[in-house]
Amino acid sequence: MKEINLELNSGEVLGYIGPNGAGKSTTIRLILGMLKPTSGSIKVFGKDAFTDAAEIHKRISYIPGSVYLWPNLTGGETIDMLLALSNQKHTAKTGQLIRDFNLDITKKNRDYSKGNLQKVALVATFSTEADLYIFDEPTSGLDPLNEDIFQQKLLDLKNENKSILLSIHILSEVERAADRIAVINAGQIIQSGTLAELQNVASSEVEVTTKVPADQLAKFAGVTKFTELNSSNSYGFSIKVADLEPVMTYLTKIGIKNLSIQRPSLDELFLKYYNVWEEK
């Protein structure tokens, strides 16, 4: 891993995205002080992540990517056990979470399906009072319904002004909650910023129908993938937001009948950054 620069302020959600094996979990283990960095420093709450690990962990709640829990304990026992390891107790909030996730806590961990086991871990993670929540691939194995509940709980935490590090490879899930996004590939942060900032770098898809033929359109700087569509005076092209203004001025002048601008989704950004990175 090299050139990892991450900063997370309180009350902020950082989406940490990257393909499998990019170094997401390794970063998290470094933050949790389970691995020692060979160079550089990691400060969590102003303390060194490795030497002050125990002190820092009082204020952290973490869920790992692949959850395995003691097979002969029930879900409820596991939640209480994990809370106790953080010097905390089963509270009303825990009960509420169990109901919200619709979790049967009387079953043993070995009898849970992957999704239900994930729910056990999620309930424990959410009900732990902490300042920093770290989720590593939290929604793997969850059905859409529970995923929705997860997103809701995530926003609740955000409203309580908690910091959240959300490491994930499913981008649509980051889009909803994240304030800032960092893209990592092969152990290197290749881009970071707000979603809007990232979108400005990538191109938006524009489809426009004009009143008169727009023969100058293809000549504008920044217009790529220019195509004439089937219906008359209809054009499709992609353009970066920064280059949009002169094009729009031109289009307004000749008269717009119909216009749609599709902002790039995270998935497109994601692919774009990987391609850019691989070309280097």
């Binding site: 389970m34 125990a54 952290i60 709640s61 790992p64 959850v67 003691w70 390891l85 770290i134």
Partner: protein, 184 residues
């Protein structure tokens, strides 16, 4: 908060988590030692039987398996100790290795250690808790075997000898378990 925090909590937790294994283990080793000791007088009922087995134990091949016979008295307790100490130490060792491995190496491999250590658990606490568990279970083994043998009071046995045999098994378990922790 330090590197050892939650050690005792984890020790208690491990004991509760492993209680079925621990209890069955205790039952098994008690059956194999105190139980066998209880039926030995009927296995070797008279002097001729006992002389025969002592002579067998003196054979080079038996020496190779069980080690040299410490003395030639034909008491039941002498035969018992000569025949059983090695096997029981091995048994205790195997059990300790399984137990220690399950709470160290295995927990690390399947990610449980990560979940625990992300919470307020000291870096060395899980390891030390496993060690505590080993001390407790082997201590209990020693006490139970020792008391059992003292109650049976085989001919030729005495308190010191009984406790020595029991400690031998307990310490063997502890030794193998500790080695596992060291290597895990």
């Amino acid at each position: 908060m330090n590197h050892f925090s939650k050690t005792f909590f984890l020790t208690r937790f491990y004991l509760r988590k492993d209680w079925v294994t621990l209890v069955s283990w205790l039952a098994l080793i008690l059956l194999m030692t105190v139980g066998v000791a209880a039926i030995y007088p009927s296995v070797y009922p008279n002097l001729n039987n006992r002389i025969a087995i002592i002579n067998t134990l003196k054979l080079p091949s038996m020496r190779a398996i069980l080690g040299p016979l410490q003395n030639s008295t034909t008491s039941i307790s002498n035969i018992f100790v000569s025949e059983l100490s090695l096997w029981m130490m091995l048994l205790a060792g195997i059990f300790a290795i399984i137990l220690a491995n399950g709470n160290t190496r295995k927990q690390e491999d399947n990610g449980l250690l990560e979940i625990m250590q992300a919470r307020c658990v000291g870096r060395f606490a899980p390891l030390l808790a496993t060690f505590n568990e080993l001390i407790l279970i082997n201590g209990l083994t020693t006490i139970l075997i020792g008391s059992g043998l003292n109650i049976l009071n085989l001919t030729g046995s005495n308190g010191a000898g009984n406790w020595l045999f029991a400690s031998l098994i307990g310490v063997a378990g502890l030794l193998f378990g500790s080695l596992t922790i060291l290597l895990a």
